[in-house]
Every structure is written in C-alpha cells, then in structure tokens.
Symmetry: C2
C-alpha cells in the first residue's frame, strides 16, 4: 500500500481529457512486486482523515489485468470506462460500463480489459484495511480446476 496520502479539499476538481482529474496524480499500480498484474494505473480521487472510505480510479490497458488477490476488506467497484471481465470467487462475469462489482471479504478477484479499449473503474475501499494476500501456486491450481476460471486467468476470455 502506498503510504503517501494527499488530502485535497479543493471544492471542485475538474475532469480532464482521458479520465484524468485536476490535482490528482496518476501512479503505476505496484503494491507488491510478487503480484501478477499488467498495465494498470491508479488515481486516488478521495482520501481524507475524515473519510472512512477511499475512492480510487483504476485503468487497465487493453489486454491488461489487476492483481489476483484476496483480503478481509471489501471492494465496491463501478465500471466507468469500457468493458471487460471479472473473476469474483468462482464466478467469471462480463462487465459493461456502469456495471457494479462487489468483492466480499477473503474472495479471490481480478479484473481484465478484454477488448481493444481501456477498462476503467472506480473502487471504494475502507481507509483502514488489511494487506492483500496473493495466491500460492496451489491456490491457482485449485482455481483453474474450473474451466471458465482457467480461461479467464490465461487471458483467453470466453
């Protein structure tokens, strides 16, 4: 987790072209070097000592994917741009713009940009949260016993 939190209480921050925002830095997503992820960026839209939640915008380039992980804290996700697929638990689902994704506690999850356009999504999390857990090779093997999950993890979307 990135420990640098920028408190920005500017009343209005304007949207810029290409899903960027005034006064919001864009970071490459790199929480853990062991994590499997590809071509994803992160912008923190709301983070403040007086807010119990944080709202971030992630964007996955075509063919990219978020980290396959699980943790005690939940994710509330809203697709803001493009389309793709998600794995949540043992379900692989198609995602269209504005779809909602709920990631319950301790549930393996990953999002993938499966088309020619970027997949951008808002993600609400608790400001105080546990560190994500990464799958062991055994975890991945177990997940892949489900053919739909195997195709998803191998980047061969149905």
């Amino acid at each position: 987790m990135d420990d640098t939190v920028t408190v920005n209480r500017t009343a209005r921050r304007k949207a810029k072209a290409d899903f960027r925002w005034e006064g919001v830095e864009m970071h490459p997503y790199k929480e853990d070097e062991r994590a499997l992820y590809k071509t994803i960026t992160r912008q923190v839209l709301f983070s403040d000592p007086n807010m119990a939640g944080e709202l971030r915008y992630f964007e996955v380039a075509p063919g990219g994917f978020s980290t396959l992980e699980r943790h005690e804290h939940m994710h509330g996700v809203l697709i803001l741009r493009g389309r793709g697929q998600c794995l949540v638990g043992d379900e692989v689902k198609q995602l269209e713009t504005r779809d909602l994704v709920t990631v319950p506690p301790m549930t393996w999850h990953q999002l993938r940009a499966t088309t020619e356009e970027p997949l951008g999504f808002l993600c609400m999390v608790n400001a105080e949260r546990d560190k994500p857990q990464l799958p062991t090779p055994q975890d991945v093997e177990r997940l892949k016993q489900n053919p739909a999950i195997a195709a998803f993890l191998d980047g061969k979307p149905a």
Copy 2:
C-alpha cells in the same frame, strides 16, 4: 436517514437503462420534511456491514436541487451524468460530467441541475455519520450576502 440497509453481495449487478441498476431500489430523497430539496432520487449502490463507506447515486431532475445542509461527515462526489452547479462553503462552481466535488466537515452545500438534462452524481459517505443540519433563516440570509450565492440559491444561475 433511511434505516433500511440492503446488503447485496451479488458479484455483478448490471447497469440498466437510464442510470438504474439491477437489484438496486430507487427512492425519493426525503431525509427531513423541513429540508429544502426538489425532484431528487437516491439509489444505494454499496452499503455493507464490512464497508466503512457507502456509495450512493443521486439524480436531480432539470431545475431540481439537493438539500442545502451541513454536517460533520464529508461527501466525496463524482458527477456521473449531465452538468450543473454546486455551492460548497462560499464557492459556487460549474459542474461537468466526471468533475469531483469535496464537501469538508460543517460546510454548507447544495447541488443543482441547471440545464435541460438530469444531474446525476455518485456520493461517498461514511457509513456511520451524523445527521445533517439545516440552515436557519439567519444562515440563509448570511449566505445570500454573497451575490453569487444568492443567485445560486434563488435558482438563477450565472
């Protein structure tokens, strides 16, 4: 505040036409009968005992406005549909789709749909939060000493 909280952990809830969502109820916004507001609806997108924040979608019909209020808890707002104006503290700002609005603690605020289209916005709040305070006539009088705020509150946008 509405005390009925629906916990929905369905992995994916699909977006429907006209900014509605599968499995999400739409409510008229009515927190307090004394509050000044007009033609605004509320949909709770994420609310769960394991989440410290809530994410709601509000939609204001053309000419409508949210309650003029203040409270200790903060709002993190992202405009999802249309455009309008906001009052935050002593600032009146134009809003376009995807702009961000931060409402600090104890700061008077209101959003208005000032065009012919609805103004829809996401609003992140703390799950545990204080009750909004409404302005006294004296508060409104003081706010209106600023001509830009007077025009905003009278629904005569610049």
